[in-house]
């Protein structure tokens, strides 16, 4: 008896409840990543090297160390400096920071793809740098990179099981607890795997759809928007 359907129905409600925590962590983390990423991208492109070089160093550092250690770092090291965070908050900040570093590279690609002439035209029109950025550059830079950002949303979603390492009661942690209570790991862990597979496939299909829509509206700007 490898697979027990009764047990599956028994554990399903608690797994579904836990999957809400997973989804919540994903969205909060990604929101943070989007904001931090934009900030890091803008700082990295700053004209002053005293800002751009340390930011570049920080981004590279975050990108080349494991996210699990970063989660541990925020959860265990910050309290030493008097910042005690609940596990969920620490986890969301760590994920947001890690993927923010990745997203900043995506933003940078988008920002660098905006033709120089747009900046020059804005200067000629006497727009302030802030207005230029907000109304001219960002609206042109972001839409082409939305699919790339979407890929990082899926990647972040798949990293949320790491939060189980600092005892956030998300899907993986719940599955492990259920497994150890009933001495049966086959069903809970397989179900978690299936959940992630289904969600990622759905998300990938959605991203492809968004990409197609964006490509169409980029090809005939103004028309059909």
């Amino acid at each position: 008896m490898f697979w027990d359907w009764n047990y599956v129905w028994e554990i399903m409600p608690s797994l579904l409840r836990a999957s809400l925590v997973t989804i919540e962590a994903t969205f909060l983390g990604f929101l943070l990543a989007l904001v931090l990423g934009l900030v890091m991208a803008i700082l990295r492109m700053s004209r002053s090297q005293w800002i751009s070089v340390p930011t570049a160093g920080l981004v590279e550092f975050i990108r080349s160390t494991p996210v699990l250690i970063q989660i541990f770092f925020i959860f265990f090291v910050f309290p030493e400096f008097g910042i005690v965070l609940p596990a969920m908050t620490a986890g969301v900040i760590a994920l947001g920071l890690h993927y923010g570093a990745y997203c900043s590279e995506v933003y940078r690609a988008g920002l660098e793809n905006v033709p120089r002439g747009q900046w020059e035209a804005s200067t000629a029109l006497n727009l302030s740098p802030y207005i230029t950025f907000r109304d001219i550059i960002i609206p042109q830079a972001i839409p082409p990179v939305v699919p790339a950002l979407g890929n990082y949303l899926v990647a972040l979603f798949k990293e949320t099981p790491l939060l189980s390492a600092i005892a956030v009661l998300e899907l993986m942690q719940t599955a492990k607890i259920l497994g150890s209570e009933n001495f049966r790991y086959v069903e809970p862990i397989t179900l978690v795997g299936v959940f992630f597979l289904v969600m990622s496939l759905v998300a990938a299909a959605l991203i492809r759809q968004v990409e197609r829509t964006l490509n169409q509206s980029l090809r005939n700007p103004g028309g059909g928007q």
Binding site: F2, Q49, W50, V53, P54, A56, G57, F61, S64, T65, P66, V67, L68, I69, Q70, F72, F73, F76, V77, P79, E80, K158, E159, T160, P161, L162, S164, A165, M172, A175, K176, G179, Y185, V186, I189, T190, V192, G193, F196, L197, S200, L201, A204
Partner: protein
Amino acid sequence: MQLRPLAICAIVFFTAGLAVASFANFREFIPGLLQGAWITVQITVGGCILAVVAALLAAVAKMYGPLPLRWLAVAYIEVFRGTSALVQLFWLFFVLPHFGINLEPMSVAIAALGLNVGAYGAEVVRGAISAVPRGQWEASVALNMPRILALRRIILPQAFVAMIPPWGNLFIELLKATALVSLITISDLAFKAQQMNQTTFRTVEIFSIVLVMYLAISIVITVGMRTLETVAARGMARGR
């Protein structure tokens, strides 16, 4: 990147590091953490080898295999790319014993991470193979080469050069994913860090050293891959 601010930042960080190190005694943690780092390196190397093999097989099967093999390759790629590395690790660790397959934790770690990164690598390999100009295939047919021989002698060596930079990224991903194996009882760098943290409570020092160690390993990978890239590209230029 400009050299002067970089150098000055490096000097500032180095002096700050020295200042911190001089009144926090780092030395006692280094031997234990180095043991963990050695396990991490072993898993990384094993995982990388498995990943390259799995990626090559999956990509070739997906592109040229007979239909059932093609489906198998697609299923492998989608399943391993679509689920979390941690879930895969736990699945191999907790679920396989129920089917009577008992693996050492080390083997589980290498298998899970290698197969996970291999699935991403398969797409890299596929992209690199399809980037080889069609004329190369046609020339091989004209020279009466069997497909396997053409793939091995003509196509793959050219695709290899295009593959190196994305593989460098994947190897670093794999290195970072090795931190997960601490959760299946392997005493790698992340595990040692937690263990020492629980006994000594010197959290700041331990986790800072660990971050720097991971950074050092990933710099080694980056530099190694860049060297490989120049060496391989040099061969290409001569071949043309």
